[in-house]
Symmetry: C2
Subunit: 394 residues, 2 copies
């Protein structure tokens, strides 16, 4: 192993330099105002949680967790997602009387990387959770809020894909009758690997018509503009399937009412690496971006792990991916630099005070401490000189 | 060991609930505007760094570090302070041409706790670093900026204590002539344990007049309103001491020019657990609070560890301690709750849209999902009902 150099950072860890950080801050600012205006309250949870509680419940594979041992000998993790810690908070004594709870967060989450493939090991998520409301209105509120937020960021070329984790599970279970096969098929769907999906079902030795039905399902149950087009995949004799499908139809009416028809596509093959989703789930895609900007869904199952029977739904967006598709917010701001020398210090302080009062960003700098003036000045829109024997402007 | 309960958090880890989080956000917002207006650019660095680089350079004792091992077998740490990562960034190729650099941050830092004594293991710091300016004006800028920022937060009853790490080191070294004794004495000064200081010097078997001089020093070299009062402790024959003292006097003139005379006390016994401070150092105290709100100083030595010879100075403040002394910012904001039932969903959505347009924070909620209406409503200033058979107001 080569020795670590002073300037190196761990695998997948990044610095945010001023320009990118300002852009992120602008996204956070829009998010704060937007989510608060809709009744969500921001909370923060610790970066470090117990492996036994949050680590195991988070539905992130063990090998992606950053683990550490504390001085008491307990295993800790850097939080791999925010939904699980928020459920911990929401089911605690302090808040559970006020459900339904609308909570929001900006937070870094952590996923260990095996090699430097450009994927970040720490990234910022923003999102909301609506805990304690099992109604279809709560799910509609999540999708509508995600849509309106993406628009508030100035992203207008985007799409929402809506599916149903419970319905997918039920359909695959009915056709394969094997938990192991369902899990395997969901993994292919997660990777959008339809070739792999078709190949693997051939190895299952299913009845011919079932195999044909499965292939028809993955080819035709996605990218649909109406839930009606999904009805042929529903088993009318399976009451739970019928119920879930009726829920999805009701959701689609609420989304239509909200004017989202043109933005929503239904996809029963949609699945998530988060195994805690039990009901509707959705993804937000910006056209032209290969990755989802974010995703969400109903996760009543996770609440049960915290001994709560109230339902919950929510979504999260990745700030790094939002930044890729957001248009530049503003032009370069004005920033004045005042150079001073030993005799003009007080004048420089006074001039800066005056400019700052006028709302102009102002830096004062002893000129003899600047080694490379042209490089130093690149970040300023205006330079003034309070220097013995030099005019006031360049 | 008792099994960990679902709701438990690791030792010293805290949740920030909405009310406290809003107050913190307000502090961040004031900080962002304030520091940017003075020419500082915000950056972010990873939560996780290499132990070999940041961990060792950070001057935090090893037992307070959260350590973990990554999948490549390297030892990592949760950053214990922000100054060291910022020096790593500032001395990297990308930024070093633009020095002097003015960088700012809000960031959580981590210190492992041995027992639950109420001390947080993760806390938020905000601060600035001015890297690449070795002049006394840079040090003055730090103290003045800290002072003006504390005032921008509405804290007016505070004090600044200014010392000099190099001068203290030189005076103690001259009197004891032992590195080990100097280290021991600095530890007593750090704990403000003057009794312990006096007791331990008696064990050093120093000449009587030296012992007397040391006791006089710790009793009289603090809480002084003029640097002149310190001159009796300076050895006129020690050129480096004379030089550092002259630097301190120049700094005091700049602070006086800035109108800070009444707020500044000089204290040559001031020291820091951060061993990288080499020049002036200072602390900000709110009257009535036992802890420093923050501290700062010149740390040219740390730059040397990153193979840089440019000087650097900065300060950081603890957000949790600022919150303790800040007056409440505003009264409770208005927040409207609209209850709806199945038939009034669309009306509720429209009404909310209208109110939000007017800038009124608005939540819509299906009434049948609310179990405990009085508890749920406590957070709202206004409740409206779009319910079959119920008037529009309570």
């Amino acid at each position: 192993m080569t020795p670590i150099q002073k300037f190196e950072k761990p695998l997948g860890m990044r610095d945010s330099f001023p320009l990118i950080n300002e852009k992120k801050e602008k996204v956070r600012e829009i998010g704060r105002t937007f989510f608060r205006s809709r009744g969500f309250d921001f909370i923060k949870t610790p970066t470090v949680e117990y492996y036994e509680t949050i680590g195991k419940a988070s539905a992130i594979t063990d090998s992606s967790l950053f683990k550490l041992v504390d001085r008491q000998g307990e295993t800790l993790v850097l939080r791999p997602d925010m939904t699980t810690p928020i459920v911990r908070v929401a089911t605690s004594k302090l808040l559970k009387e006020q459900i339904p709870l609308r909570l929001a967060y900006f937070a870094n989450v952590f996923r260990a990387q095996e090699n430097e493939g450009g994927r970040p090991a720490e990234f910022e998520q923003m999102g909301v959770e609506l805990i304690g409301d099992a109604s279809v209105y709560a799910d509609a509120e999540m999708i509508i809020t995600a849509s309106e937020f993406v628009e508030a960021l100035g992203i207008d070329d985007y799409q929402l894909t809506v599916g149903h984790a419970g319905l997918l599970q039920s359909i695959l279970m009915e056709l394969t009758n094997s938990n192991g096969q369902v899990k395997e098929l969901r993994q292919f769907l997660l990777e959008k690997n339809l070739v792999g999906f078709e190949e693997v079902i051939r190895t299952y030795e299913l009845p011919n018509e079932v195999e044909a039905h499965l292939i028809e399902f993955i080819n035709q149950a996605s990218n649909l503009h109406s839930t009606e087009q999904l009805s042929s995949f529903i088993d009318e004799k399976n009451e739970s399937q019928v119920q879930m499908f009726s829920y999805l139809k009701k959701l689609s009416i609420l989304l239509e009412n909200a004017g989202l028809s043109n933005l929503v596509a239904y996809d029963l093959t949609l699945t998530s690496e988060m195994s805690y989703y039990t009901g509707m789930l959705f993804e937000v895609f910006a056209n032209g971006s290969g990755f989802a900007l974010g995703n969400g869904g109903r996760y009543d199952g996770l609440l049960e792990e915290f001994n709560s029977t109230v339902g919950a739904t929510g979504f999260g967006l990745r700030v790094d991916r939002l930044l890729e598709v957001i248009k530049p917010f503003t032009q370069r701001e004005s920033h004045t630099l005042i150079y001073f020398d030993d005799v003009h210090y007080v004048e420089a302080v006074e001039a800066a005070k005056e400019l700052r009062k006028q709302g102009i960003r102002t830096t004062i700098q002893l000129i003899s401490s600047v080694e490379d003036q042209p490089s130093f000045q690149t970040n300023f829109s205006n330079v003034e000189w309070l220097i013995e024997g030099v005019g006031n402007n360049e």
